[in-house]
Amino acid sequence: MDAILTLIAPFFRDLYETTGINFNVFYDPYQFKRFLIGAENSILLILAAILLSVIVGVAGAAIQQSRSTWLRWLVGGYIQLFRNTPPMVQLLFFYFGLGAYAPQVDMGGYYQPMVSAFGWAVIALGIFGGAFNVEIFRSGIEAVPKATLEAAESLGFKPWQTFVYFTLPLAFRICLPALTTNLVSLAKTTSLAYVISVPEMANMLNQVWSSTFNIPEMMAVLFCFYVGVVWLLAAFLHWLERRLRLRGYSK
């Protein structure tokens, strides 16, 4: 990372000195550090929230296939609740509402909450994105041909094996386009973690512009950062779609 800074610093310092356009995060080592912390946290937050939301989605969809009425009812209630409330309210609810009751751990003299703001952001956003994923996976599961699953059954596969080896892989392929849309949307929503002071990109750049007053430049950095990250994510998911496309069933 230091090597990168050494490489780009002369250009941005020169830019500042000649034009007054101040991208100090790209030449000042101290501000560059802030940029890196912001980038790392934002990217980790996106990846962790996506991972959790997919796990929640698969688990929820699996539960919805179960025979237990009250379990299905529970998942249905969860979906309604989290799809129909603003994600920012959910973040605040988790961090300030539940966070107040979370256990504190003794750090040798002072106490720290067991779940950090970052942790709460992952939980809240994962559960928010998961509510949509449950519906997406459920529609995928329902579109898997029953005859294919019956063939598996006739070969002696147990119900859980059929689910893991056939239902899930086929459902995943069917719902991947819808999943891509939701995950890209979730990635953008993670920037809301700003409101619970997670040191993500917007927060770190806020610290930068508060001290050096280069607000427009930092806004441009923030904007471009998300353009790049979201583009990468979408490109990866589209690559996955092509990779997993069932061969011989071209549209």
């Binding site: 070969l155 094996q161 069932l246 011989g248 069933y249």
Partner: protein
């Protein structure tokens, strides 16, 4: 080294008429719709049994009952030493013994032909991979699909897919194979290649139950033919009798419509 006698071949020769599937007074309804109304039949080891009859007469339902895919209300089905209606039935052991091939092939579209054949022995029987793969390649060669191991179902013709489905069932080393109108969805040209595969299986001594509309084929390979109509067995006997001189008026009408 001591040579081990092939027990299955010995017992097969010793008791050629051994009953392996026995159905007694089977009744089945879907809700109010009575689909099977008291069917009894025996299938002996090594025998080829054909079930013919108009569509909707319960042929598919009947053979699906044999490997426990469709539950029935009363009567009994015995496969070897297992009672299919038993609440504590070991379905995996039953399905090892009884393979079924469907009209629409129902291959796993995300797996290659070879993987389709290997999946069940690997995951259900938990057999060693090298051995499973060797046998899967042999089976694909046997159904004349050597060279297609790495093709996906979507890249194969209907007849080729159906032969992969047959190999997939055979990979479990079943004692009985059920075929439910396996050529009904195929182009006329590819029907023959699938029938050839089935004929070879029958010649190898596999117990086969065939639901089919290929009357010439049934007449040629069957040891015993059952004619079903309205959920009942109307008439049964050796193919010469059923096709040559059908006794029941419904059989006569059905056969004359096909000729």
């Amino acid at each position: 080294m001591q040579s081990i006698p092939d027990n299955s071949a010995v017992s097969l020769a010793a008791s050629p008429s051994m009953v392996t599937v026995s159905i007694r007074d089977l009744h089945l309804s879907y809700g109010k719709l009575e689909v099977i109304k008291g069917v009894s039949l025996d299938i002996r080891r090594g025998e080829v049994v054909c079930i013919i009859g108009p569509s909707g007469s319960g042929k598919s339902t009947l053979i699906r009952c044999i490997n426990g895919l469709t539950p029935f209300q009363s009567g009994s089905i015995t496969v070897g030493d297992q009672q299919v209606g038993d609440a504590k039935l070991d379905k995996i052991r039953l399905r090892r013994k009884v393979g079924i091939v469907f009209q629409q092939y129902n291959l796993f579209p995300h797996k290659t032909a070879l993987q389709n054949v290997m999946m069940a022995p690997l995951k259900v029987l938990k057999e060693p991979r090298a051995e499973v793969e060797r046998r899967a390649r042999e089976l694909l060669a046997k159904v004349r699909l050597a060279g297609k191991e790495d093709s996906f179902p979507g890249e194969l013709s209907g007849g080729q897919q159906q032969r992969v489905a047959i190999a997939r069932s055979l990979a479990m080393r079943p004692e009985i194979m059920l075929f439910d109108e396996v050529t009904a969805a195929l182009d006329p040209e590819t029907v023959q290649e699938v029938l050839l595969t089935i004929r070879e299986l029958a010649e190898d001594g596999m117990t086969c139950v065939l639901v089919t509309h290929e009357m010439a084929f049934a007449r040629e390979v069957a040891d015993h033919v059952y004619f079903t109509d309205g959920g009942k067995i109307v008439e049964h006997g050796p193919p010469e009798e059923i096709f040559g001189s059908p006794q029941d008026e419904r059989t006569q009408r059905f056969l004359s419509r096909l000729l």
